[in-house]
Structures are given as C-alpha cells and as structure tokens.
C-alpha cells in the first residue's frame, strides 16, 4: 500500500466511526439521561474502577424495578482520565446529548467546569472532593458535594480524636499528615481554628506528590514528635505507604485516623492486608461493609439474571458503597423533581430543586441522615468512623458531625 492509500484508508475508518455515532445517537422516550464522568484509567483509577460499576449497578436495579416515576435512567459514562480537556469535551458531549444531571470526577475537573454548570443549569454532584466552599448552595447553586467536605471531615476528625483521648484535648499533641496539594491542605484552616479553641498542640507534615515516599514524615512523627494522635489526609497510593510506614516504625495504628480517601479496602490491602493495619481508624461518608439491604437487592438482581455479581462488590465495599450513595442521591433527586413537576421530562433546575428536598433518606443506613437544603448542598457534613479489627472494617461510631459553627464560619468567609 502506498502512503496515500493508507491515508485514505485511515480517513475512511474515521468516517465510518462518525457514521456509527450518528446512528447510535437516537434518544428514546421517557428517559432521564445522567452524564457520568469517571476515572478508570487516570491518576485515581483505584477509585474509579469500583465507584462507576457500582453506580451502573444501582441504576440497573432501579430500572429493573420499573424506573423512577415511569422514567428509566440512562447513564452515559465517559472516562476523563483525570484530565481537564477530556473533562471539558465529555461535559459538552453529554450536554449535547441532553443530560440534565451530571456527576463529575476529580477536583481540577470540577473547578474547571463549575462556571459552565451554572451557565447551563445542570445539577451536578461531586461527592467527597472539589471545593469545600461548594457546600454553600447560594454561591454554587448547581454543584452538590452531597458528602462531607474536607472541612467537615477535618472538624469531625478533631472531634473523634477528642473522644478517643478522653474528651479533653488541652496540651495533647496531634500530628496532621497530608498530601501536599490544594485538596490535602484544605482541612488545615479548620484544624488550626480548632487548635486555638481546644488548646492542643498541632504539627503538620506535608507529603509531596506522588505521595509514595512517606518514610521521612512518618519517622519524624513516630520517633521524634510522638503525638497522641495522627490525622492522615492522603490520596492514591500514599495511605497504603503511610500505614506500612507507621507499622514498621512501631507507631500504633489505633492512634491514626484517615480521612475518607485513605479509608478503603484497597488501601489496607496495598499496605499488606488487614493484619498489618489492625487498629487503623477509617473515616467514611457512606457505610462500609455488606450489611445493607440495597447490596442484597443488587446481588439478588444478578442472581435472577443468572450472573455473578462483580467481585469488586465484596472486595472493595467502601468505594462500591460510595458509588451506591451517589447513584441513590441522583435517583432521589430525579424522583423529587418528577413528583414536583407532575411527570414531565425534568430540567436541570428541577433536579437541582429535587436534590434540595432530600432528607430522611438513609438507604438502610448506607447513606447518612442527609438534609440537603438550598443553602446547604453538603447535607450536614456527616461521617462515620470504622476501625480495622479482626480482618474487616468494624463500625466504631454512628453518623456524627462536629464543630458546625467553625465550618459554617469558614463557609461564610470563603473567598
């Protein structure tokens, strides 16, 4: 084949692909399209590969049960590779296809698209990441963190430490070890504010990206600083590296609490298994483990279809359950929107209003007692702490939240 022929062949293939797209773009009646952005291949794929299948499972479960108020849910997933240009393209494409509700993935992508969301009036969730200030619904009307922001997590972590140390933090030493990026630094103002109020001693330890080298920081904490408790806010591979390092330096893991992205089975496994991490406290914004009716329903759905449920469902309950939480909140938002508008195809604004009516929806304990309002898109900032005990996560506290006045003050004064 000559070069020109090859070029023509390439063009023909491209044209064929375009044609295929055109034929597949026809939409059906009575359908709500959800635009999903996932990260199954990028920097945080460890989360994406579990979270996104879980969301699909939940939508399938809802559709198998007749949909929402007569509408079926269609979820269009695009992998953004944790890159901003891809996220912009994915957003525009899903918008063109008529998505009225979206879920973004990744903090840089969320901040990059935030302004568009408002202009296009598309209700969007960003659970557990993005900007903490987005909890303020008056300033970010279309963005819904729906889970505890880093500010709420930081406040809850201090409360948890206080309870563990006997209800008084005066004179106690707390180490805050964090991934050195904006998300890692975000809880810091809250913790510093609480330091003044509670009178504990605080020292911060930054872990530079990519976060796999935590040895020096952990050594510093375990051997030199010797705090009474450690709050770890790490992402990606660094929670596992940190757990391993604490263990090898002989610092008791029962004095370490990890915020929500340092809290999954994947982190424990990568650290060397549950035996190594015995005692470690893990903060969650969705329930961990298998004891929730919705998980049994999904397993039953698979069984009915003669298939095995995904093996990651039991292997990584933390991220799987977070996917369920996110999908369930979407469905509730759509349900409220459809109830309010009498069953017409919902708009983004109607779904936004639907989200803002969500309360008393716990999905059998998997979802915290959220109360999303037009001003509070975080839903209260609830978390739960689980402890690694005897080879699994054991629930240690019920849903709780703490120091709301400090968090609310931070929200009001955020630039």
């Amino acid at each position: 084949m000559s070069k020109a022929n090859r070029a023509i062949l390439a063009l023909a293939l491209g044209a064929a692909a375009g044609l295929g797209l055109a034929t597949s773009a026809g939409a059906q009646q009575k359908e709500v399209l959800i635009g999903m952005q996932c990260d199954r291949t990028g920097a945080t794929q460890i989360t994406g590969v579990v979270l996104c299948p879980a969301m699909h499972d939940y939508y399938d479960l809802i559709n198998a049960g007749g949909g929402v108020e007569g509408y079926t849910i269609k979820a269009d997933e695009i992998d953004n590779e944790y890159k901003v240009p891809q996220a912009v393209e994915a957003y525009q494409r899903q918008k063109q296809e008529g998505a009225v509700l979206m879920t973004l993935y990744g903090t840089p992508m969320t901040v990059a698209l935030n302004q568009r969301l408002e202009e296009d009036k598309i209700a969007t969730t960003s659970p557990g990441f993005g900007i903490a200030a987005a909890a303020d619904g008056t300033r970010y009307p279309y963005l819904f963190p729906i889970a505890a922001t880093y500010w709420s997590q930081g406040a809850a972590a201090v409360q948890f430490v206080k309870d563990k140390l006997g209800g008084n933090l005066k004179g106690k030493k707390i180490a805050y070890v964090f991934y050195d990026n904006p998300a890692g630094k975000e809880p810091m103002p809250i913790i510093e504010e609480l330091q003044k109020r509670e009178g504990f001693e605080l020292r911060t330890f930054a872990v530079p990206p990519p976060g796999v080298e935590v040895g020096a920081q952990v050594l510093d904490i375990a051997q030199r600083y010797r705090p009474d408790f450690v709050i770890a806010h790490l992402f990606g591979r660094s929670p596992a590296a940190a757990i391993k390092a604490f263990k090898s330096n002989g610092y008791p893991l029962s004095k370490v609490v990890g915020l929500v992205w340092a809290s999954s089975e994947a982190d424990i496994d990568a650290a060397g298994g549950f035996g190594v991490a015995e005692g470690y406290h893990a903060m969650q914004f969705a329930g961990a483990g298998d004891d929730y009716p919705v998980r049994q329903q999904i397993k039953a759905m698979y069984k009915k279809a003669g298939k095995e449920p995904l093996d990651l469902m039991d292997k990584n309950t933390v991220y799987y359950n977070r996917g369920l939480l996110q999908a369930a909140i979407h469905v509730e938002g759509i349900r409220n929107a459809l109830k309010a508008n009498g069953g017409k195809a919902p708009t983004g604004t109607e779904i936004k209003n639907g989200f803002e009516q969500i309360r008393d929806f716990t999905l059998g304990g998997l979802v915290p007692p959220l109360e999303i309002t037009p001003t509070d898109h975080e839903g209260g900032g609830w978390v739960q702490v689980f402890q690694v005990k005897g080879g699994k996560f054991v629930k240690e506290t019920d849903w709780f939240r703490a120091y709301r006045d400090v968090v609310e003050h931070a929200l009001k004064t955020a630039e």
Binding site: L21, P85, E89, Q92, E186
Partner: protein, 355 residues
C-alpha cells in the same frame, strides 16, 4: 496548502522567500480562513465548536513549544509550568485590578517570557537530555511555588475564578463567542510564528539548532538567541495559559502539571518538529484522537463486548489505541504528520502523470 505546481520556476530570491509561492496558495488560505472563521462557527453545533476551542488553545501552545524545540533545538519539559505562570498572572490582574483581556493576555505572556528566559539560562551550558532535566526542575519549582504562595495562588485551593472576557461590553460566554475570541489569538500566533521563522531571528534559531558552535562562528550570539527562544516560546505558553483560564473561567494549577507538558511535546513530535502546519496538525491530532477512538469504540465495540464490559474496556482500550496510533504514525513517517501531508501533496503534484 492545497496548491500544486508542476515544477520549480522561481527566478528570484524574493519569489523563493514569498509566503505564498503561488497565487492559488493565497486563495487556499483565504478559503480556509473563511471556512473556519465564518462557516464553521455558524454551522457546527456547540459540542463540535467546544472541541475546536480546545484545539485552538492547543495550537497556540504547540506553536510556542515548536519554536523552542523544533526550530531552536532546545528541549523543554516545562511548558505546562510556563502556561501556569501566564494563567496566574492574568487571574491576579483580573481579580485585583479588574484588567481587561487586552492587558492580561500580553501581561501573562510577558511574565511567562521573563520566567522562561531565566529557566533558559542552563541551556547556555547544557544540551539535550541534561537540559530536559533542568526544565523539568523548573516545572516542579513553578508548581510548588504556585501551590505554596497564597499571594499568587489566591489561597489554599490554588484556584482563582476569572470572569469570562468582555469585548466592547459583551461578555463572551457561549462556545461560539469563545471560539471567535480564541481564533483571533490562534491566527495571530500562526501569523506571528510564520513571520518569525522567516526573519533573521528565525534563521538564527535554525542555525543554533543545526550546530550551535558553527552558529557562534558565523556571528550569531547563542547567548542571546537561546534565551530569546526560551522567552518567545514561554510567551506563547503564557498566552495559552491565559486563554485556557478565560475559556474555563478559572485558573487552577492542577491544569498545568507535568502531563500537560508531555502532551504538548507529543503534539509537536507527532505533528512535525520545526513546522507550523505540523504544530497545528499535532494539536488537532492529540486533542481529537481520544475523542475519535472513543466514538469508534462506542460505535463498534458493542458488537464484541457487553455494555458493562464496554464501560471498563473503552477507557483502557482508548489509551492503548492512542499509544498505538502514535507509534504507527511515527513509524510511517518519523518526521510527523506535516511530512506525511507533504508526501501526499508531492504524490499528487504531477498526478496522474507520475512517470
């Protein structure tokens, strides 16, 4: 672009150096300009215009990197960081002084040029892979600085929201309006580069690239021209950063990390080092390839895989295809898409009477 002459009939240097070797070249460029400036934004849907917007931004950045890497032969892995310098300069000017875009864009570019010239200093002593590491250091230092200096980054989040640019009181909001805005700068960048490389400076760059000692002997100050190349290239990068900031409405340092620098290097290597058309091809190729492979897989993947598998397969296969196609194109034509295009043109030059 599309013109073809049947032989070389030039009789003067002026004719040889002309920007348009034949009248038809002028018409072809005019037709292209008409197509992309008038017809495309009026006819294409918002989604397609948004893809073109991303390409236009990438073109400016790729041209800048090509001036440095392709024309002057200095490797840089710090292009993304120079973009962030421009982006944060503009974002601070907008939020603090309410500066309009015709101030912020040159200001962002100039600030990036200044930083770029400083970062370029090691190029006076080292070359090749050593220089690459020095610029990599610059990338990390700039990232760290932005991340840790609140006066630049605007706080813990390291992101500054910027209102969209206004043009005579009209805020450019829709994708089509932004397309026209970005197009203006992309055209300026293309014209600027094509004139730059035909000037004394451009030829000095090429001389430095081909053999810097020889260049010095014939009277070219490598000190001046290497730093100038870094400054000009960084100016383009800075402008790219500002355009990106205006396009997204926010400056965020995570948008300019090392992967971005590598993406831009990929663009100019795939497109063709030392060519303007190559930069455009490369920018379009790297932006479009993930999108096109995804369309392709969505359209035909369903024939082989189930829907649940497909959700997991598409993103992974897309990366494999992306890498595979880059290798394929570089094996077919190591000098990039620009050379491939010239080969096709040469084939048709005397077609159908090839022999």
């Amino acid at each position: 672009m599309f013109h073809r002459e049947s032989g070389v009939f030039k009789t003067s240097y002026a004719a040889d150096m002309a920007l348009y070797p034949l009248p038809i070249a002028k018409w072809a460029v005019a037709a292209f300009a008409g197509l992309f400036i008038v017809i495309v934004p009026l006819t294409l849907g918002e989604y397609y215009v948004s893809i073109l917007d991303l390409i236009l931004i990438a073109i400016v950045g790729a041209l800048g990197l090509n001036i440095l890497v392709g024309y002057t032969g200095q490797i840089s892995i710090g292009h993304g960081a120079f973009m962030s310098v421009g982006a944060y300069t503009a974002a601070n000017l907008v939020t603090r002084l309410d500066a309009p875009f015709w101030i912020t864009i040159p200001a962002g570019g100039l600030m990036a040029a200044l930083i770029g010239a400083i970062v370029g200093i090691p190029s006076l002593r080292i070359k090749g892979i050593y220089l690459a590491i020095a610029t990599l250091a610059a990338q990390l230092i700039i990232e760290w600085t932005i991340n840790h200096v609140p006066a630049i980054s605007g706080g813990v989040q390291a992101s500054i929201q910027v209102p969209r640019p206004s043009f005579f009181g009209v805020q450019l909001k829709s994708q089509t309006q932004l397309y026209m805005f970005l197009m203006a700068f992309a055209v300026l960048a293309i014209i600027g580069t094509s004139n730059l490389v035909r000037s004394r400076i451009g030829r000095a760059f090429i001389a430095v690239r081909d053999q810097d000692i020889a260049a010095e002997i014939i009277g070219i100050s490598t000190f001046r021209y290497k730093l100038l190349a870094f400054a000009i290239s960084s100016f383009y990068a800075g402008v790219t950063g500002v355009l990106y900031t205006y396009y997204l409405g926010i400056a965020n340092y995570e948008q300019f990390q090392i992967t971005v620098s590598i993406d831009y290097l990929a663009m100019i290597i795939i497109g063709g080092l030392g060519s303007i058309l190559g930069s455009i091809f490369g920018a379009a190729f790297v932006t479009l390839l993930p999108i096109v492979t995804r369309w392709f897989l969505e359209s035909f993947g369903g024939l082989i895989f189930s829907a649940a598998d497909l959700a997991n397969i598409i993103p992974n296969l897309r990366l494999i295809l992306f890498g595979g196609l880059i290798i394929f194109f570089l094996v077919v034509e190591p000098e990039g898409l620009n050379r491939l295009w010239r080969n096709i043109r040469n084939y048709f030059r005397v077609w159908p009477f090839s022999y």
